[in-house]
């Protein structure tokens, strides 16, 4: 009995320690030298988030927004030199990653959080259930890094990154391109939620030269996507595969019937907007590749992906 109570206390303590009030994550006394809190912290809920970020609030709601806190810091010597900070509680690490993945516009890791983005004016990262955004109207990458690290240290949510990220093969993966969508994966309602990553297919040398002559800025490299749609159970994944087939039959090209014997079901076709696609059902997942040129490349990519998906 005593052991049970102690275990319960331990579990409760662990859980509550990383569910600390959002406001406590804001740097207050431990600020970088010469910096002070100028405004806030101001808390926003589902009802008031519009007041802070206008229409963009809708995107956060799709990712399970719980609440957020906003504050402005400023340099004591130069009051124009400011840092705006938003910390969003997104409910869980998957949703925090999801919203982070929609905001990161290229791979510029800053070395904080579970993954991050840093440039002269902005820093973004996610850690545990939190998504953190910092903005400096005056370019100041170093101070953005310092603030980010400070906040990251205060977050004690130990959640690891969503495991699905690790399913995406590393070879050819465009850094920072994996995204999570809570709905409308690949623009399709029937695919519901899932991940996608962009891969770069290097152009053959001859082709590359040809393209470079026309447009110096383009390399001729082609991009394709791997995607992983997640369903509640395998039957729902099979149903979605059928919907995908129906959609391709109506708007593009689709093969008929199941092409895989045994347990897996698969689909091959051409989507009017995504290009050539191959999709395989594996348990409660649909795994797919879209936008490839050569059949062989698509097949190899998909086979590699299937090996990774546990």
């Amino acid at each position: 009995m005593i052991l049970f109570v102690l275990t319960w206390i331990f579990v409760w303590f662990e859980a509550s320690s990383w569910a600390a009030p959002l406001e406590s994550l804001f740097p207050k006394k431990d600020l970088p030298e010469g910096w002070t809190l100028a405004e806030g912290p101001q808390t926003y809920t589902k009802k008031t988030l519009f007041e802070r970020i206008n229409g963009e609030a809708e995107l956060f709601f799709k990712y399970g927004f719980q609440k957020s806190v906003f504050a402005i810091y400023q340099n004591k010597k130069n009051r124009e030199n400011q840092v705006e900070l938003d910390i969003y509680d997104m409910g869980n690490v998957l949703q925090a990653f999801g919203v982070f993945s929609r905001f990161r516009n290229e791979d510029r890791p800053g070395g904080f959080g579970l993954d991050s983005f840093l440039d002269d004016h902005s820093a973004l990262f996610y850690e545990g259930k939190y998504f953190v955004m910092l903005y400096a109207p005056e370019a100041n990458q170093e101070i953005l890094r310092q603030f980010s690290k400070l906040i990251s240290l205060k977050i004690s949510d130990p959640s690891p990154p969503p495991r699905e990220i690790s399913y995406f093969p590393k070879s050819g993966l465009k850094p920072g391109s994996i995204q999570y969508f809570p709905e409308g994966l690949l623009g399709h309602q029937f695919l519901k939620r899932g991940f996608q990553g962009t891969y770069v297919e290097k152009a053959e040398d001859e082709k590359k030269v040809e393209v470079e002559d026309k447009d110096k800025t383009k390399t001729g490299d082609k991009e394709l996507k791997l995607f992983l749609a997640i369903f509640q159970n395998s039957q729902m994944a099979i149903n979605a595969l059928k919907e995908f087939r129906d959609d391709l039959s109506k708007k593009g090209k689709a093969s008929s019937g199941s092409i895989i014997e045994f347990e897996a079901k698969a689909l091959k076709g051409e989507d009017p907007y995504q290009g050539k696609v191959m999709v395989v059902q594996k348990g409660f997942y649909l795994l797919g590749v879209a936008g490839f040129e050569k059949e062989e490349d698509g097949e190899n990519r998909l086979a590699e992906f299937m090996r990774e998906v546990k």
Partner: protein, 388 residues
């Protein structure tokens, strides 16, 4: 999920062979895209106020869009006006629009936004938008979220926009607003500084806003309606109700609205929205909206079927609730009469005997209070019969 007997290696080999098989064996049964007999929606164009731009009545809010394919589908459906913003997804949203419409720029109108700041920063923001959108002009640039009439008539802000117009970077300008829309629109109608107003406008809004929209439209301001779906909803949370199309039709019935920009995420949603063009608002649509509104407000029964518990006397409470819904929501007397005719006077008497109702609404609707309203309606109905 995975047959242990087959083994992963063999399984993958078979999967791979099967896929390869498809590549070599001509088993395609589908016909080429050009032969598809897809029915295209009727496209309705409206003039965007004094800009003179002919925009599609159903246009597209890009903000929540998950994939460029949705934009391309919208384009194929004939939609020509797209609303994005500098800040959406840290600029990624504008990038998606730019990439999707590269080579199609002359066929679409792009609206984006700028925040009020000092001139240097505003100019930098516009330049960034141009780069991301892969264009050298923005069709409509609007101030992001004005909230006071002073901002709407600020000559300094107007001056900045005028400079951009002169430089050819922006064709038309305006403002967006999420709150206090009516006073802002009235001010805009007076000040004559704006070509376009992007305002939150849907079936839940007041008559006051409708009048302000009319006033602004009459002054030549092109009205673009956003939040037309009243904040979005999940079909499964609403007993299967899907009032997307009804909400859009409702707002487009107001001819003072030049375009609606519903925020869509998927191809299926934009197809659903586009199909609204040229369609009229039916009685069913009105019913859907009433149910949706009551869902939003938790005020009246939506007939969602989620009642918990039963009446011990077997009173069909749903008939009573329906009568209230028709009265409160639809304000439709004939429907109220029809429902009341199905109710036996005895039932109502039985309801009077209970201090509280054993039927519980999962949305927190006070069922007893609703039944009291139904009783009042019955009394009023019988008084009318006596009088006549």
């Amino acid at each position: 999920m995975f047959s242990e007997k087959i083994g992963r290696r063999n399984f993958l080999k078979r999967v791979s062979s099967a896929l390869l098989g498809i590549a070599t064996v001509p088993i395609w049964k589908a016909s080429p895209a050009s032969e598809k007999t897809e029915k295209a929606p009727a496209v309705e164009f409206r003039t965007l106020g004094k800009t003179g731009l002919k925009v599609t009545a159903v246009s597209m809010g890009v903000m929540n869009c998950s994939d460029a394919s949705v934009l391309l589908r919208a384009f194929d459906l004939g939609i020509n006006f797209y609303d994005t913003a500098d800040c959406y997804m840290n600029g990624r949203n504008e990038e998606m629009v730019g990439k999707a419409f590269e080579g199609k720029r002359q066929k679409v109108f792009i609206q984006t936004k700028v925040h009020v700041h000092d001139e240097k920063k505003m100019r930098a923001s516009v330049e960034r938008s141009l780069r991301r959108l892969r264009t050298d002009y923005i069709d409509v640039l609007v101030w992001h979220d004005h909230s006071s009439p002073n901002e709407v008539s600020d000559p300094k802000l107007f001056e900045f926009m005028a400079k951009l117009k002169k430089e050819g970077k922006v064709r038309f300008t305006g403002f967006s607003a999420h709150s206090h829309m009516a006073p802002l629109l009235r001010e805009a109608a007076k000040s004559n500084l704006h070509d376009v107003a992007l305002v939150s406008y849907n079936f839940t809004h007041s008559k006051g806003l409708k009048e302000a929209v009319a006033l602004a439209a009459q002054s030549g301001i092109g009205i673009v309606a956003m939040k037309t779906q009243a904040g979005g909803y999940k079909k499964e949370k609403m007993g299967g109700l899907s009032p997307h199309q009804a909400a859009l039709k409702y707002i487009l019935r107001d001819q003072n609205v030049s375009a609606a920009v519903p925020g869509v995420t998927t191809i299926e949603q934009i197809e659903q929205c586009a199909a609204v063009m040229g369609a009229s608002l039916s009685r069913n649509n009105l019913n859907e909206l009433e149910q949706y509104q009551s869902f939003l407000q938790g005020r009246i029964c939506t007939m969602c079927g989620g009642c918990q518990g039963e009446c011990p006397y077997g009173v069909l409470h749903t008939d009573l609730l329906r009568a209230v819904m028709y009265h409160e929501g639809y304000e439709n007397d004939s429907l109220v009469r029809e429902s009341l005719l199905r109710i036996h006077g005895q039932d109502i008497e039985r309801c009077s005997e209970c201090s509280s109702c054993s039927v519980v609404c999962r949305r927190g609707l006070d069922v007893k209070a609703q039944i009291k309203m139904a009783q009042a309606l019955m009394v009023r109905g019988s008084e009318r019969i006596v009088r006549s």
